[in-house]
């Protein structure tokens, strides 16, 4: 396709922006969601409020969140921070529940055994509970990462959307090539994120591979 040859720089710039806009929120979101998920499990009365609020946040359509955030956090409407903040909110909303579910799925006898062996709360959390919860947490992270990658392009409607710029350009020109390029790259990027998280999981939970696939 001539379009790709003639627009390499533009496509690569869009791709680069897309990667940043998709990845940064995933990292921020996990950093915020881990303590929140832990609190939801530790203090049971927090569980329902936290999960309900995240459910509501997750329901808000992306475009609505993108355009309202500048008014709330005081950024310019064209600032990439709007996209990053919105996608971080989605990631947190999804991951709080996932982290809580993961920690809840740890067999109580295991935590009791760890306590009996002298593990204190913090060491037990990082040494026992989080590793056991990891498969559940990373499964949720795959969902969050993949949907972030596809949501970034909506940002193109407010001027910052990575590969989404190819979609709006194609629409304005009535020209299909940039749209196809954008869709293919976006899907590939999503698949790449998915594969990376799966590989990380295999590295971090070697025990899950022993004794057959699960």
């Amino acid at each position: 396709m001539d379009y790709i040859a003639n627009n390499v720089d533009l496509i690569l710039a869009a791709l680069g922006q897309h990667v940043v806009l998709a990845i940064v929120p995933v990292i921020l979101g996990v950093i915020i969601a881990l303590p929140l998920g832990y609190l939801a499990v530790r203090y049971r009365w927090l569980y329902h409020p936290l999960i309900n609020v995240s459910g509501l946040l997750y329901a808000i359509p992306s475009l609505a969140l993108f355009v309202v955030l500048p008014g709330i956090i005081g950024t310019r409407i064209l600032s990439p921070i709007n996209i990053i903040a919105a996608l971080t909110i989605y990631t947190v909303a999804l991951m709080v529940r996932v982290v809580a579910n993961g920690l809840n799925s740890v067999d109580p006898t295991i935590t009791q055994a760890a306590s009996a062996m002298g593990y204190r709360r913090v060491r037990r959390l990082f040494g026992v509970e989080l590793p056991i919860a990891l498969p559940v947490i990373l499964a949720g992270l795959r969902v969050a990462a993949v949907s972030n990658v596809s949501l970034v392009s909506v940002g193109a409607l407010i001027g910052v959307g990575g590969l989404g710029a190819l979609f709006t350009r194609g629409l304005q020109l009535g020209y299909i090539d940039p749209i196809i390029v954008g869709i293919v790259l976006s899907v590939l990027l999503a698949v790449l994120c998915d594969v990376i998280i799966v590989l990380v999981q295999r590295q971090l939970t070697p025990w899950s591979r022993i004794g057959g696939r699960s």
Binding site: V68, V143, V149, G161, G170, L171, I179
Partner: protein, 247 residues
Amino acid sequence: MSTTQETPYLFDPANWEFGAAGSIPSFIVTHLYYTGLALAIAILIAVPVGLYIGHTGRLAFVAINAGNAGRALPTLGLVSLLVTMFGLGLIPALIALVILAIPPILTSTYAGLRAVDRAAVDAAKGMGMRELGILLRVEIPMALPLIISGLRSAALQVVATATVAAYVGLGGLGRLLVDGLALNQYDRVVAGAVVVAVLAIVIDLVAEGIQRLVVSPGISGRALTRPSKSFPTVSPTQPRAGTASAG
């Protein structure tokens, strides 16, 4: 930004006049119409296919991968592609909405049926139920929480994408967002965003209520232990609910 000194768009009574073209209520009605239509078509396609795959176990890879593929597909890209190929109008946008609504319904219907305790199916067979009876009276009722959670995520997906589709001329609440951005009227943008967010949340809550009404208490766990509300299933990864009710 906007130069007007009047009441913000959202609170201006003129914008709430029922039945007037271009008023907020008329946008809500249009938005709901698109959402309902797309969902209905998607249900007619995805539920039977999901039931077939889940019941027979054939073509399982389709159902498993549909969810991932649907999530990875950029909504704006799909809308742009269909509109560029087939022109502006309701049909191309509607096709995009249906395509995006199918994966969550298909995957969760399949997952719901697969999660049904095989012992229950065997017991139904032992009692002399036929395939259709097993499907309708055992598998579907037990799979209902997951099926409805799939419908909920599909509904949210459609509401969000219908907003985006205003960019290619679709009506509904997205108009306020897109036109407001084009006209630099931030209060109009905020009005659209607030109303569409509230609409999405209300739809989600209504779906949750329906889920509570139609799911048998024996399956949701309400009949067994706590009368207090345990937050029902939304996410595709939720290991607890199934095990709690099986015993």
